[in-house]
Chain length 191, copies 2
């Protein structure tokens, strides 16, 4: 989408800014810092969603105390957390997706389970709120059909799909030989 008149095309992050059809900036498609740059609004940093989650003693400057202005009117626990930006949304969604692969049947999923997983991933690419990410994922699925014959296949497929995005964003590649330790079994921590 071309930026509306008098609106910039790129943000301080260097990323192209994504606007909605009504000319406002897309919350779930841009970074917090870029959003702040365009809107001139001082975005509060993401904070624990529940005030009671703030530890009583914290390292100096690590977490500010919660004032009543920070709380949602009428609530003694929920703080005013801004909507997620594209990065927070990405991290959350990959956590959900990889964990879903990690719990997929190890061997011999039923035909129904295979269909459900394939359809779930396809629909995810339709409803995902970062529109450009969704389009990219949809294309990836079209060109690389999800491998749903067993957990190992699906876990690796997800890892490779994630690496496809990592590459686009200039992030390092994750070694997919470690997908199972990262998402299923853990790292053999000693007692």
């Amino acid at each position: 989408m071309t930026p509306p008149p008098n609106k910039p095309e790129y943000g301080p992050s260097g990323r192209k800014l994504i606007y909605e059809e009504d000319g406002t900036l897309c919350r779930s498609c841009n970074e917090y810092t870029d959003f702040q740059f365009v809107t001139g609004k001082a975005l509060k940093a993401p904070r624990p969603a529940v005030a009671s989650a703030v530890p009583a003693t914290t390292a100096p400057g690590a977490l500010a105390a919660v004032s009543s202005d920070d709380l949602i009117p009428g609530s003694r626990t929920y703080v005013k957390v801004p909507p997620p930006d594209v990065n927070q949304l990405g991290r959350s969604s990959w956590t959900m997706l990889h964990a879903t692969a990690a719990k997929y049947p190890k061997d011999s999923p039923t035909d129904q389970q295979k269909q459900d997983m394939t359809k779930f991933l396809t629909l995810f690419s339709h409803v995902y709120p970062c529109t450009w990410c969704a389009k990219d994922f949809e294309k990836y699925i079209r060109e690389n059909a999800p491998k749903v014959d067993n957990r190992e296949q699906l876990g690796r497929w997800m890892c490779e799909a994630h690496n496809h995005v990592n590459k686009k964003l200039g992030k390092p590649k994750f070694n997919c030989n470690f997908w199972e330790k990262r998402w299923v079994s853990g790292w053999d921590e000693e007692s």
Copy 2:
């Protein structure tokens, strides 16, 4: 599921422990502390997934430095993060779900969009890796069909579905009149 012989039924969190059919503890259905209690393994705390995300200077004690033992073999950036527990998975998934509602068409979604969203939520309840959470969400959807006629409807439906879970977990209720500020527009921060 009944616990295997010589395995406890409840964890230190007070929650009933959920075991897999093979007798191991379900990672995505239990809390980190309960997992540690049963397995005797010293779980490393969740950390940034990428070492370079650790700020160079941090408040004293706020974040430990990353040692080479913490890194995934062969990687200079990815640290050994344990698989998500039931709480991290829940937070991540609600972020994705609410943001998805926040980006649903404001008015007049097409029949295809309505069908896609309903089917997506139903499939989510089939593939979600915390099995008892998934069953509960499936039942909730069966008894409270997703409202998909417009964004406001869906956003409130999601908020109420989340409050249903909050209640089960003894957490405070979120005032759904604020769903749009929390997930779409933000809190009118001043510049």
